[in-house]
Symmetry: C2
Subunit: 337 residues, 2 copies
């Protein structure tokens, strides 16, 4: 411990399970969404945002999200009153056990703000940035204590989407990334801890590939926005709510799974089905896909996976149909007072 | 009518609403899935597949899918007994009001089979191919009556995923595409009728873009299958079950919607967030995206859309959590007999 401490900078100030107070720096759509999530998870939240009407917008956002969070289930001591909005950054972070930065997506802003937070936060307190694409290596350049700075990238809205991608920069200590991953898990998130500073992380890369293909189609007049959105929500999107692209294609291979799928449909990678150039399906990549997919399948047979897929797809379809019906009924009620 | 009839070949034999008997040619995963869907929608299904144990596998598939289809709600006269398996293609299509071809994905197979179906099906009966990527122009070359051949591309499993993409070939008559779209709608599917023979149609292009990016990441050792699948199901996939990529990004723009999103985050298109090259965000493309997204939003404010998104996301999360709990309880029951 002592040796690691000397090598990597400070150790964490507190255990992830003992965190009580979270500082949210920046309280727009993402920062406010984080505030709502941390409140629902039972933390005290201290927020700061330099925008003139930031407090009103933040409190509106949290109030609007609250019924949804109640439906999902609140933590024991969760309360909307555990939110404090303060006038300075220093005040926000001075008593925090963890800091979540969600400033506008400009590199110079992020660099300056993270340096300011690192100067004001108590020693050993981990600071995470919500950046959607900058690397921590780029952002931690001006900070006096870069070892405790990590990326903690959420998906919108942070109070509902479980995903957080955690990755450190070149000067981030291993303990800080580990601590952040453990803390987010404690706070109810689904955490992916990445070893590489991959531009856009993982979720955004997939999302961006789909988005660029959509823009290409609209630009070329091949499809409309309505057709693209409809295709997603009636097709691949329904499955991706519970099985990712790899497990989905594991099922497309029949009893042979991913191995059969790649061996049989591998040549389809050369089809002009998207503008995205296909990778070379080398034997190494083929084997890696098969092996890692089997890990995800974790012993479940294709038949079992199909049963699990169908059950979830029906649950999703029925749940969405129920919301549609409820909204239609509410609209009718409003028409006839 | 007479003139159109002369110009475009035969008129349809029957109105879409009057269809009683559907022929399924090819009864593997996709053809069998179609059979299950048509049975659940209340049709008589006559199936043919040359594989030796095709009938057993088909009846197994339908029997396995049936409880799921009951959960989703069966049509009035739906019955598993309305399935007949016959020994020849001619027998299958001779009494059909509509034919769905789901043969293996090989062009020569499709060309030959569609010619055979076109020769044997009653005049004016529309024939649809489940092809996941060939164009009807390529496939209809050997058919004597090409005007009634269309693509009707489903998503897997066809008995649960609502999407069907309909598009004709160069020699397909307008009435045939119209008829097929009307019939699929009648049969409970969500139909996208395309004007262009776009390779991969729409759903597969989006899916393929995500898939290729996933393969690239695994190939480069940047992410694992487990991380990619987890990122999808905890992040973008959850939203795509009900809001497509365009409406999702309409919300990312705050009150300014798609217009603000493109004007503000447009430069992000140049970021190396995926291997997919970005389209040029010309003023024309920008305006087209904004205009078409407003059409999809159909007058709903951003606030209203956010409320609708949150409600659906919670419904999906709760529905999936309930399935997880039910499966865990079942597993426990099986352990302690």
């Amino acid at each position: 411990m002592t040796e690691q401490h000397l090598l990597t900078g400070r150790a964490p100030a507190i255990a992830p399970a003992d965190v009580r107070t979270v500082a949210c720096i920046g309280a727009g759509v993402i920062g406010g969404g984080w505030a709502a999530h941390f409140l629902a998870a039972g933390y005290d939240v201290v927020a700061w945002d330099p925008a003139p009407d930031a407090e009103r917008r933040l409190r509106d956002l949290v109030a609007t999200a609250w019924p949804a969070l109640e439906d999902l289930g609140l933590a024991e001591r969760a309360a909307i009153d555990n939110l404090t909005v303060v006038a300075t950054l220093a005040e926000a972070v001075s008593g925090a056990d963890f800091v979540q930065e969600s400033a506008p997506e400009r590199l110079d802003t992020k660099v300056a703000l993270l340096a300011e937070i690192a100067a004001a936060a108590p020693p050993g307190v981990v600071v995470a940035s919500s950046t959607s694409g900058y690397s921590m290596t780029e952002m931690q350049t001006a900070a006096a204590t870069p070892e405790r700075l990590v990326v903690g990238h959420p998906f919108n809205p942070p109070y509902l989407a479980p995903l957080v991608e955690v990755v450190g920069g070149e000067r981030t200590a291993g303990w800080a990334t580990e601590w952040a991953s453990a803390f987010y898990t404690e706070a109810g998130k689904t955490v992916i801890t990445m070893d590489t500073e991959l531009p856009g992380f993982i979720g955004n890369r997939i999302q961006e590939a789909a988005w660029r293909e959509a823009l290409h189609m609209v630009g070329a007049g091949e499809a409309t926005v309505a057709q693209i959105d409809q295709a997603m929500t009636s097709g691949p999107g329904l499955r991706w709510a519970f099985f990712g692209p790899c497990l989905t294609f594991h099922l497309a291979g029949g009893e042979g799974g991913m191995a059969h799928m790649l061996d049989h449909f591998g040549p389809a990678l050369k089809y002009p089905w998207t503008r995205l150039e296909s990778p070379e399906l080398t034997p190494e990549l083929r084997d890696r896909m098969v092996e890692q997919t089997e890990e995800v399948a974790a012993g479940r047979s294709i038949t079992r996976l199909i049963a699990q897929r169908d059950r979830r797809m029906i649950a999703v379809l029925n749940a969405l149909a129920e919301v549609d019906r409820a909204e239609a009924a509410e609209a009718r009620e409003q028409e006839t007072p």
